[in-house]
């Protein structure tokens, strides 16, 4: 087998495996992108909101007891934002794909208001698309790892695909036409946005 043929075989494997390893996420991204473009067609009704006020002590929300507090009060997701507002209340926002939960601990630290928003099915699915980053529990870090794999795969199988096309169909006028038209169009859009 010649070096060129070996190189082509390696590229073909990279192209295939990059696509296969991220197929589920890519299909999800295509579907949720469509849902996001047509967000008006997917009503926001159907979700639920509830609020409860709980008396607490400083020990309840101490570092040692925090994991238990989260579990007992069924606070889903990972901490996304934490701040102190003008009234001295501590605001903590937890997000998962399907839920948004806000904790408001009063300035004296003896009461917490928990507001839970459960999204409907469509917005929960879109919520998966919006999650990113290495924070929080293991499952979120695993998802972030998959997300990195998707990003790298997209780049890899695009580049390997183009190289294979140059070898396989380099005399195909349709392929060149599509490639050049795509390059010109995408280039013009980016330049217009850059200078616009």
């Amino acid at each position: 087998m010649s070096t060129t043929t070996k190189f082509y075989q390696v590229l073909k494997k990279i192209h295939l495996y990059a696509g296969l390893s991220t197929a589920a996420l890519l299909i999800m991204y295509v579907a949720t992108s469509y849902m996001m473009i047509h967000h008006d067609s997917f009503p926001s009704e159907g979700g639920t909101q509830s609020t409860e006020n709980i008396k607490i002590t400083a020990a309840d929300i101490s570092e040692d007891n925090w994991v238990d507090f989260i579990r007992v009060h069924d606070i889903k997701g990972r901490l996304n934002n934490e701040r102190i507002n003008a009234s001295g209340e501590k605001i903590m926002q937890f997000n998962s794909a399907a839920t948004n939960t806000t904790l408001k601990i009063n300035a004296t630290g003896d009461e917490v208001e928990i507001t839970r928003n459960e999204k409907n099915l469509a917005h929960s699915i879109i919520g998966v698309h919006r999650l990113s980053g290495y924070d929080g529990p293991l499952k979120y870090n695993l998802y972030a790892l998959f997300l990195d794999a998707v990003g790298i795969s997209l780049i890899l199988f695009t580049i390997t695909g183009v190289i294979m096309w140059l070898r396989l169909l380099k005399n195909n006028k349709w392929a060149w036409g599509i490639f050049i038209a795509g390059a010109i169009y995408y280039g013009i859009v980016m330049v217009l946005l850059y200078i616009g």
Partner: protein
Amino acid sequence: MKKSLLINLHVYCGLFTCFYLLSLGTSSLVLNHKIEVDKKDVTQEWESKVAIDTTLADLDLAESIRDQLGMMGWVPPWRYHKEKDAFSFEITHLGKNSDIRTEFASGRVQVTEYRKGFLAVLHGMHFFNGKIPNAPFILRSFAVYQYLGLLVLLISLILGLWLWIKFSYHPWELYLFGFIFLSSLLIMILI
């Protein structure tokens, strides 16, 4: 259907979306690692004059000034700042932020532009759907490209999977990638 036809279709679909896929791949990494890609240096300052209608509400006034300046972009309400004799706001889009300060009496407008840079534009393509106020036709046509891009990506994926299953798969690949497929589905459900 003949294998060569399927391969051709797969290649055409891939070539049509290859630039979009490259920017989606790059921006996925940028988002996942929260990398700051926007430049914040002033790139240009200029002045102009517009007609001011002080009876307009803030949003209408900002849009009126933007339109008279012939600028493209959104005018986010949280960036409005109204003083006794002036109105400040921001015009923003994927590639540029512009701070606008307008004097009511003279209609004089001071514009300070901040170009975000090439990487920011590449990253911004992830969210771009062609819908920027005052965008030229070619930018608005991106809505069609985005639709076609998603459709063609899906077709390309399905064709690729079909070609693999029909002509070149090994059992161990099916087990391994089947496991990865199911694992990613499970993680998506869990989060």
